[in-house]
Subunit: 401 residues, 2 copies
């Protein structure tokens, strides 16, 4: 008998399945209305166009699309990403600052590995994205939670937490933040806080990991979105974004933009991590961009999710138990709900599923263990009608009805 | 000014570009004959078939192929991999032991992260594959080289090295070995040594990382290949293989097979590393397997490389300077050449390129810094005629002609 425990690393021993994955066996069975699944709706995928592009690039560019490619990514795609970032106000972006990744999850993992030593402190929002938490955990970061309200991260609490860590002689390396329509809360970091956040990072000599996968899924008409942190102070920001929400996540194509000394390290780390992301996926995404497929479809994709968000918010207005609160997202896929009293979202989940609706309990998103009375509600998967019905069912469970 | 050095992790600071990548700017320019490129020939890619499969699976299975998928991989692909492993004699393989990875490079990285703590010793062959060395380095393994001859790893030297490490109170965690047609040496581990190698692992309570990307690219007629180590002692072996050499590396689809307690940890590590590999690539590979595309084309692919190997070996017979030696591979893509006297392969490379031929100096493959007089010669890219010409040119440079 082999005793594998003694053969594992410290990280290896600590690895556990996602809290969400453990739930996933309960979720989405049969006709259950899923407020749990956080994936983009497959109705938004441009299937015919991608099928045509895929066969064409394999036929016409097989020596590129089917062969090994450079670790940083396909040069034409990197160029296209530079343009995308310039349009987002990140003027510092250049081909030397970009690394294409296997989803933003890989960007998080590589960024964490390149900057975190075991015990280094990473500040994360309360709540924060689980994938980011896992990447930081796997680099053996110690995570300290910072309060968040409807305007995003609380800068007073951020300063307090940094001062506390510094007094305890630990090293704060980074702030991890999801600036737009955060997963799981739907919250967007307010414009004036953005200016102050980068100043805090500069004052305390920290890096910011800015995770921005939902940038293009905004509901605002007129586009008055605040600028990314990477636009305000590029020297301090590792910026991540993705084609998963605006094209298709199965293509696993995302990107990191970082100051050149960091992007060079991220490139090296990626070389050891997977040599390169799928080349076929990258070539398909390149052609989709060049054909205008993403830009042309964005207005439609935004309305698709806005209608669903509206349906969820309306149903919450009608059915939510007294004293409960929820966020009002300006984009993305998620609403975070907080229920008054002794409600425990994890305990109540089996009963909700019995009644035909599933959600994700909020607690795993809070690194300080709080949030037992919160729920992540995704409006990305179901029709507006089923979302309304799901919220009604869920609220009846909350009221013990 | 940001001082990035102080913000990097120990690993981050240590990351350097591949030695080979630094050379790549010199290599393969214009009409240079490349004995350097270690990629499969794009002539072996089934372009038309893959183009047809890609458009079909996107049209017919868009909700799978374009959506997020399970971290372990597409269930139908995992099933197909289990069958492939059973045919290789690895009876212990089951769907619980498989994790699909973004190339075998990711399998190496995840395996290293799950078992290696900083300072743990990993035994590697002299020479060994650079990608494996990098993955172990990035997990902060201390690597100890073990001699290799034409029959593979030298078991007496292996025991000596283990005993030395154990006496110095360091922990040996694993042996990393490429068992068939090794990159860079082309050497295959002899059958009788395989039995003894797994016994050594068991005796000293070690794991073996068996990297086997070239398994199917064998030239033997009648298929008398020795069994994988994973077939002999599955409880001690993390087995890695890939579709890159038999289908197309741009699809970045490979797999790890490990005892269930380890594969569960590798799955968790992959969740944090990239959530899942390209789903589209996996679905394409699944269909390619089910359509018999790989099995049907293997005989042709094997002859393709065998003819090229033969051309290289014949040219070496004719032109190699006296006292030089080279391996005689039974498969794969590579020959390792050792030149007598004070020849330095790195120093001579610019002169070779000037004469129109490129190769990869062997030294970076030797973790003990030896091998300055060795060269990795790839026969996978060029035509037999150009290989012969390239060897002739290279040998004339060696003789100072």
């Amino acid at each position: 008998m082999v005793d594998y425990k003694t053969l594992l690393s410290v990280v290896g021993r600590s690895l556990q399945p996602y809290a969400i994955r453990k739930l996933s066996k309960m979720l989405g069975k049969g006709d259950t209305i899923s407020l749990a699944a956080g994936a983009p709706s497959s109705q938004t995928f441009p299937t015919e166009e991608l099928a045509e592009i895929a066969s064409r690039v394999i036929r016409d560019q097989s020596q590129i699309a089917l062969q090994y490619g450079p670790t940083r990514g396909q040069p034409r795609l990197v160029e296209a990403v530079v343009e995308i970032l310039h349009r987002r106000g990140i003027e510092a972006a250049s081909s030397d600052s970009i690394v294409m990744t296997t989803g933003s999850q890989q960007g998080l993992d590589l960024a964490a590995r390149v900057i975190i030593d075991p015990g280094d402190v990473a500040l994360v929002e309360l709540p924060s994205y689980i994938g980011g938490i896992i990447a930081l955990h796997n680099a053996q970061a110690e995570m300290v939670g910072v309060r968040q309200d409807d305007g995003g991260i609380d800068l007073n609490d951020l300063r307090d937490k940094i001062e506390t860590v510094v007094r305890s002689r630990r090293r704060v390396k980074c702030i991890y933040t999801i600036t737009n329509f955060q997963n799981p809360s739907g919250v967007t970091l307010a414009a004036e806080r953005r200016e102050r956040l980068v100043e805090v990072a500069d004052e305390y000599d920290l890096l910011i990991i800015e995770d921005d996968p939902y940038f293009d899924i905004h509901f605002a008409h007129g586009d008055t979105r605040p600028r990314p942190l990477a636009a305000l102070m590029p020297s301090r920001v590792i910026y991540l974004s993705s084609f998963s929400k605006v094209l298709a996540p199965g293509l696993r194509t995302a990107f990191v933009c970082a100051p050149e000394p960091l992007s060079a390290k991220i490139e090296c780390a990626k070389e050891g991590a997977d040599l390169s992301s799928s080349v076929l996926d990258q070539v398909i995404v390149t052609e989709a961009i060049r054909a205008g497929l993403i830009d042309r479809r964005l207005p439609e994709i935004r309305s698709f999710y806005e209608v669903r968000c509206r349906a969820m918010l309306d149903a919450l207005e009608r059915h939510a138990p007294e004293g409960s609160r929820w966020t009002k997202p300006l984009g993305g896929f998620f609403v975070l709900m907080e229920v008054a009293g002794a409600f425990d979202a994890t305990e109540s989940l089996p009963r909700a599923i019995e009644r035909g609706v599933a959600y994700v309990p909020g607690q795993p998103f809070f690194v300080d263990g709080s949030g037992a009375n919160t729920l992540r509600l995704a409006f990305s998967k179901e029709t507006p009608e089923r979302l309304a019905k799901g919220i009604e069912l869920m609220c009846s469970v909350m009221r013990g009805a």
